[in-house]
C-alpha cells in the first residue's frame, strides 16, 4: 500500500515520454503484446543505499507463448517478474501489461487486477499444507468470490486436466514434488488468467520431473491467448521457450527466439 | 480432516459453555428469608416511646415475713391459694411457748387459790373482831384485845390485795404467752393470692432471711411497672395512651391505664431477668393498670410497652405529624 502511494508521483513523469520510444510497436501492443516495457526501472531504497534492481528494461512479450527470463541470480529477473505481475511498483519507465498501464493502478486496483488476470506458479509451490489438492487449486476462484461448490468443481476439472484427477483430496504433504507443482499449476490456471508467471518452476524438482512440468507448461502455452512468463536459470529447460530474455545487472542483454518458436504453434 | 474430529473441539467448547451457564444459573446455595415465628411487637403510634414492663399485683409483691425464727409447723395455704385478710398462712413450732403458757396458766390457779385463802382469813378475822366489838362491857375484853383483832382484819384485807395483784400478774403472764403463741401463726396481710411459697413444713424460717418464705399479692387487678430510659424520660407525659404486648404473641394488645409515676428515678434494674447487666442507666418507673383483656397475663411476666410520645423538637423533625392511637 505504502509503496504504491510513494511511487505514484515518480512514475507520472516518464509516462508522457513513453509513446515516443514505443511508437513503432504501439499497434503490436494493442493486438499482439501481452507485456510491453519501456525504460522500466526499479530502485529499492533511497540515495546512497539505493539498489538499482532494474536499470531501464525494454521488453515486449507476445500473447500466446512461453517466454523465459534467464540470467544469474541477482540480475533482476525476480524484480522484473514482480513488477510485471503487479506485485511491485516500478520506480520509473513504462509498463503495459495485458493492455493495462500498471502505473495507472492504485494498490487495491492492482490487487483486483492480479486476482482476475494473473496466475502464479512459485518455486516452492506455496500450497497450503492444511488444504487438500482440490481446495488449494480452488483458492483463486474463492478469492474471486465464486461459490465454494462451484469453485471446487472448477478446481477438480483443472486438476483432471493436469493429470491429478485421482488425488483430489490428498494433502500437499502426501504428494510428490511434481504432483505438488501440478497442483500449483492447476491453481495458476483455474481462473483462466491471461498472464501466468512461473518463478523457477523446476528448481525444486529433479530433472525428469522438471521436464514433465515444462511439458505441461508448454502445453498450456500452446493453447494461445495467454502469456506464460517463466523465470529460470536452468538452461536445460530453455528448449521449451518461445522467447528467451537474457538479463544481467538489471538490464536485458539479449532477446532471442527459443527453439520452441520454430515449431508450429499459435504464432 | 475427518468430519467427526473436526467438531470435537467446538462440541467440547459448547459443553463447556453449557456447564458455565448451568453453574452461573445455579448460583450460590441460596435460602429463602425466614418468616418470624411470632409477630414482633409493633407500635401503633406515630410517635412512640418504648419501654420494658414487668407485671405486678395491685399491692405490689408482698414478701410475707415471720416475726420470730423457728421451724415451720403447719401450712394452711399452697401457691395460688386465694385468701382473705387475717387467714392463717403458716405457723411456726409452738411447743415450748405452749408449755410456758400452760405453766403460766397454772400460776393463775395458784394465785386464785391464794386469793381464796386470804378471803377466808379475812372472814375469820372479821368474825373474831365481831365477837368482841359487840360486847358492851369493856371489862369483858381488854381494849388491847379489840385493837389486836382489828389489826388482824386489816392484815387479812392487805393479803387479799396482794393475792389479787398476784393473780392479775399471773393472768397477764398467760396473756403474754397467748400473744406470743399467736405471733407464731402468720396471717394474710390482706385479701389476695399466694404467688410463691418458699417454705415447707419442717423448714427453718427466720426474720430478715434472703428468700421470703411466701410472696403474696392482691391480684384482683394487675399493674404494669414500666421502665423508661432516662434519655427518653422527657418524652413521657402522664395520661397519654399506652399499650402493652405479650411476649411471643405481639398480636395481643392490652390497653393500659395510667396509675402513677414513681417520683424517684432509679438505677436500671435488670428487666431482662439477668443479673449480669451492668447498672449503667437510670430509669423512670411508671405504673399502669392493665385494663381487662381476654388474654391471660401473669404476675412477673415481661411485656413490651409502647407509649404515645411527645414529638421530638421541631428542629429535628422533618415533618409535623398528627397523632393516632
Amino acid at each position: 500500500m505504502n509503496s504504491a502511494a510513494t511511487s505514484a508521483p515518480v512514475t507520472s513523469a516518464p509516462i508522457t515520454s513513453a509513446p515516443i520510444t514505443s511508437a513503432p510497436t504501439t499497434s503490436a501492443t494493442k493486438t499482439l503484446s501481452a507485456i510491453s516495457c519501456r525504460r522500466l526501472s526499479k530502485v529499492y531504497g533511497a540515495s546512497e543505499t539505493a539498489v538499482h534492481a532494474l536499470r531501464g528494461i525494454d521488453l515486449d512479450i507476445p500473447l500466446g507463448g512461453l517466454s523465459m527470463l534467464v540470467g544469474p541470480s541477482g540480475c533482476g529477473k525476480t524484480t522484473l517478474i514482480s513488477v510485471l505481475a503487479g506485485i511491485l511498483d516500478k520506480t520509473a519507465g513504462d509498463c503495459v501489461v495485458l493492455g493495462q498501464d500498471m502505473g495507472n493502478l492504485s494498490a487495491p486496483q492492482k490487487t483486483r487486477w492480479r486476482r482476475d488476470q494473473v496466475g502464479f506458479v512459485f518455486q516452492s509451490f506455496h500450497l497450503m499444507p492444511t488444504l487438500t489438492a482440490v481446495e488449494n487449486a480452488a483458492i483463486p476462484l474463492l478469492i474471486q468470490g465464486v461459490g465454494r461448490s462451484k469453485a471446487l468443481a472448477g478446481a477438480a476439472a483443472m486438476l483432471n486436466r493436469v493429470g491429478l484427477g485421482h488425488r483430489l483430496s490428498s494433502l500437499p504433504g502426501e504428494l510428490s514434488g511434481g504432483q505438488q507443482q501440478r497442483v500449483a499449476i492447476a491453481r495458476a490456471l483455474v481462473h483462466s488468467p491471461r498472464l501466468v508467471v512461473c518463478d523457477e518452476p523446476t528448481s525444486a524438482l529433479d530433472h525428469e520431473t522438471g521436464q514433465q512440468i515444462m511439458l505441461l507448461l508448454r502445453e498450456v502455452a500452446n493453447e494461445g491467448d495467454r502469456a506464460l512468463v517463466v523465470v529460470t536459470h536452468d538452461s536445460r529447460i530453455f528448449e521449451y521457450a518461445d522467447l528467451i530474455a537474457q538479463m544481467d545487472d538489471g538490464r536485458v542483454t539479449e532477446i532471442r527466439q527459443g527453439i520452441a518458436a520454430a515449431a508450429p504453434g499459435p504464432l | 480432516m475427518k468430519f467427526s474430529s473436526r467438531w470435537v473441539i467446538p462440541a467440547v467448547a459448547l459443553v463447556g459453555i453449557g456447564v458455565m451457564v448451568y453453574t452461573v444459573a445455579m448460583g450460590d446455595t441460596n435460602y429463602p428469608v425466614n418468616k418470624p415465628m411470632a409477630e414482633p411487637p409493633r407500635s401503633e403510634f406515630t410517635e412512640t416511646l418504648a419501654g420494658a414492663g414487668l407485671v405486678e399485683p395491685l399491692s405490689q409483691n408482698i414478701a410475707v415475713a415471720t416475726a420470730v425464727p423457728g421451724v415451720v409447723e403447719q401450712l394452711w395455704v399452697a401457691a395460688g391459694s386465694h385468701v382473705s385478710k387475717g387467714d392463717r398462712l403458716f405457723s411456726i413450732d409452738s411447743r415450748s411457748l405452749a408449755a410456758e403458757c400452760l405453766m403460766r396458766e397454772s400460776a393463775v390457779d395458784v394465785a386464785s387459790a391464794r386469793l381464796a385463802e386470804t378471803q377466808v382469813e379475812l372472814a375469820e378475822a372479821r368474825e373474831k373482831l365481831a365477837k368482841v366489838s359487840h360486847l358492851s362491857d369493856a371489862r369483858a375484853v381488854s381494849k388491847e384485845e379489840v385493837s389486836l383483832r382489828t389489826r388482824a382484819v386489816e392484815a387479812a384485807l392487805a393479803r387479799i390485795g396482794t393475792a389479787k395483784a398476784a393473780l392479775a400478774q399471773a393472768r397477764a403472764a398467760v396473756a403474754q404467752s397467748r400473744v406470743e403463741l399467736d405471733r407464731l401463726v402468720v396471717k394474710a396481710p390482706g385479701d389476695g393470692e399466694v404467688l410463691q411459697l418458699n417454705i415447707r413444713v419442717g423448714e427453718q424460717v427466720s426474720p430478715g432471711q434472703q428468700l421470703a418464705p411466701l410472696i403474696f399479692g392482691d391480684t384482683r387487678q394487675l399493674h404494669l411497672r414500666v421502665d423508661i430510659d432516662e434519655a427518653e424520660a422527657w418524652r413521657f407525659k402522664a395520661g397519654v395512651p399506652a399499650v402493652a404486648h405479650l411476649k411471643g404473641n405481639a398480636a395481643v394488645e392490652i390497653p393500659l391505664e395510667y396509675v402513677r409515676t414513681e417520683p424517684l428515678v432509679i438505677p436500671k434494674h435488670s428487666l431482662t431477668g439477668e443479673s449480669t447487666e451492668r447498672v449503667d442507666t437510670r430509669v423512670l418507673q411508671v405504673v399502669y393498670l392493665l385494663k381487662p383483656s381476654p388474654a391471660r397475663v401473669h404476675v412477673g411476666e415481661q411485656m413490651d410497652v409502647f407509649i404515645q410520645a411527645e414529638p421530638r423538637p421541631v428542629a429535628k423533625e422533618n415533618s409535623p405529624r398528627g397523632r393516632s392511637s
Binding site: I81, V118, S124, H126, L131 | Y31, M37, I228, K247, E277
Partner: protein
C-alpha cells in the same frame, strides 16, 4: 476464503490444540481465581445474609465486621423501638465462646442468640428438627452441613456432635436439639444458635451482651430516612444488610490480605493467560506468513486478509473460552464440594470473555500489522 481461513487454523492439529489450550488455560485461570475471590467475599457476608429478615442493623460504631464483639446497652433496644419509621426491632447476641465436648475436646464457637419470641435472626432452614425445638430446655442448634468436621470429638469421642448430644458452653450444659442449614461462613468456628436469653446466660461475659439490634422499617418508609433517624437518636452505627455485607467484606478481605493475594492471582491469570494466548496466536500467524504472502500475491485484498485473521482469532477465542470456563466451572464444583469458597456470578464469565476477546483482538491486530507490512514479492524469493 473464510473456509480457507478456518482450514488454515484447524489443519495443523498441534498448533490448533496449542492455541485452544492456551486460551482455555487463560479463561480457566481468570474464571477460577475470580470466582474464588468472589466466593470468599460472599462467605464473609454469609451470617448477614442468613440473618436478613430485617432491614437494618444497629451496632456500636466500633464494629468493623459482622463477627466483631462490641456490645450495646440493652436500653438501646427500647430507644430503637421508639424511633420514627421503625416497625419492629429485636435484639441479637453474637460472640465467640468456648465449649467442651463430652469427651473433653475444647473448641471455640460462635454463639448466636436470637430473639426468644419471634426467632428473628434464625438460620434459613432446618435440616433436622423444627425451629420450635429451640424453645426446649438448654436447646441449641448446630450446623448440619459442617458439624461433621467442625464439631468432631477428637479426644476419644471419635465422632461428631449430633442431635441429642449434650456438651457445655462456658461450663454450662446445652443440648443439640436441631441441625440447621445455612450459608458457608468465612469463619472456621462452628456457629451455634440459641435463644437470646439463653445466650446471655451461656455467654461468659460480665457486661452488656446485646450485639446488634435488628430493625424492620415500616412499609412505605424510606430506608435511608429511617437509618438517619436511628443514627440521630442512638448515636450508633446503623447499616443496611448490603452495607453491612460490604463493610464486613471490605474489612476481612483487607485485614487478611485475601484481596491482595487473590486480586494478584486474577491479574496474573489475565496477564499470563493473555501472554500465552496472544503469543501462541501471534506465532501461528507468523508461521503462516508465507501463505498470507502467497494469498496477497494471488490477489487477496487487505480487507479480506484482515477478516480471515479476525475470524481465526475469534474462533480460537470462543472455542478456548468455552473450554476454559467449562473447566473452571467443573473445578468450582470440586472446590465447592470440598467446602471451599467458589461463587460465579454472570459477571465473571462475562469479564473473562471480554478479556479473552480483547487479548485475541490484540494478538490479531499485532499479527495483521505483520501481514499488512508483508511484501507479496517475498513469494518469489525461495
Amino acid at each position: 476464503m473464510y473456509s480457507v481461513a478456518l482450514k488454515m487454523l484447524t489443519g495443523d492439529r498441534l498448533k490448533y490444540f496449542g492455541l485452544i489450550a492456551g486460551i482455555a488455560f487463560a479463561a480457566m485461570l481468570i474464571v477460577q481465581q475470580a470466582s474464588i475471590l468472589v466466593g470468599l467475599t460472599r462467605q464473609t457476608g454469609a451470617f448477614i445474609r442468613d440473618t436478613a429478615q430485617a432491614d437494618l442493623w444497629v451496632m456500636d460504631p466500633q464494629v468493623r465486621f459482622s463477627q466483631d464483639q462490641v456490645p450495646l446497652r440493652s436500653t438501646v433496644l427500647q430507644r430503637v423501638r421508639g424511633t420514627d419509621g421503625v416497625d419492629w426491632a429485636v435484639p441479637l447476641y453474637q460472640g465467640f465462646n468456648r465449649g467442651h465436648m463430652p469427651d473433653g475436646t475444647s473448641f471455640t464457637l460462635i454463639l448466636v442468640g436470637i430473639d426468644d419470641a419471634t426467632m428473628i435472626g434464625a438460620p434459613p432452614q432446618m435440616e433436622l428438627g423444627k425451629f420450635a425445638d429451640l424453645r426446649r430446655d438448654k436447646a441449641i442448634f448446630i450446623d448440619g452441613d459442617t458439624a461433621a468436621t467442625k464439631l468432631m470429638m477428637k479426644r476419644g469421642g471419635g465422632r461428631a456432635i449430633r442431635l441429642g448430644d449434650r456438651f457445655t458452653i462456658n461450663d454450662q450444659e446445652v443440648v443439640a436439639t436441631g441441625a440447621y442449614r445455612g450459608r458457608e461462613s468465612f469463619f472456621w468456628e462452628p456457629v451455634i444458635y440459641t435463644t437470646y436469653s439463653r445466650a446471655l446466660t451461656l455467654s461468659s461475659s460480665d457486661h452488656n451482651t446485646m450485639s446488634f439490634v435488628l430493625v424492620k422499617i415500616r412499609p412505605g418508609q424510606d430506608i435511608r430516612a429511617v437509618q438517619k433517624n436511628l443514627v440521630d437518636r442512638t448515636g450508633l452505627k446503623v447499616l443496611t444488610n448490603d452495607q453491612f455485607i460490604d463493610v464486613t467484606a471490605d474489612y476481612i478481605l483487607k485485614a487478611t490480605g485475601i484481596l491482595v493475594n487473590f486480586g494478584l492471582a486474577v491479574i496474573l491469570g489475565v496477564v499470563i493467560g493473555s501472554l500465552v494466548a496472544g503469543q501462541t496466536f501471534y506465532n501461528f500467524t507468523l508461521d503462516n506468513l508465507r501463505h498470507y504472502g502467497a494469498l496477497k500475491a494471488m490477489g487477496v485484498s487487505d480487507g479480506t486478509l484482515a477478516r480471515m485473521v479476525w475470524l481465526q482469532a475469534g474462533t480460537v477465542a470462543v472455542l478456548g473460552y468455552g473450554i476454559g470456563v467449562g473447566m473452571g466451572s467443573i473445578i468450582g464444583w470440586g472446590l465447592r464440594a470440598g467446602g471451599l469458597a467458589f461463587s460465579m456470578p454472570w459477571q465473571i464469565p462475562a469479564f473473562a470473555f471480554a478479556s479473552i476477546i480483547s487479548v485475541c483482538a490484540l494478538a490479531a491486530w499485532l499479527s495483521l500489522r505483520r501481514v499488512f507490512k508483508l511484501e507479496p514479492a517475498v513469494v518469489f524469493r525461495g
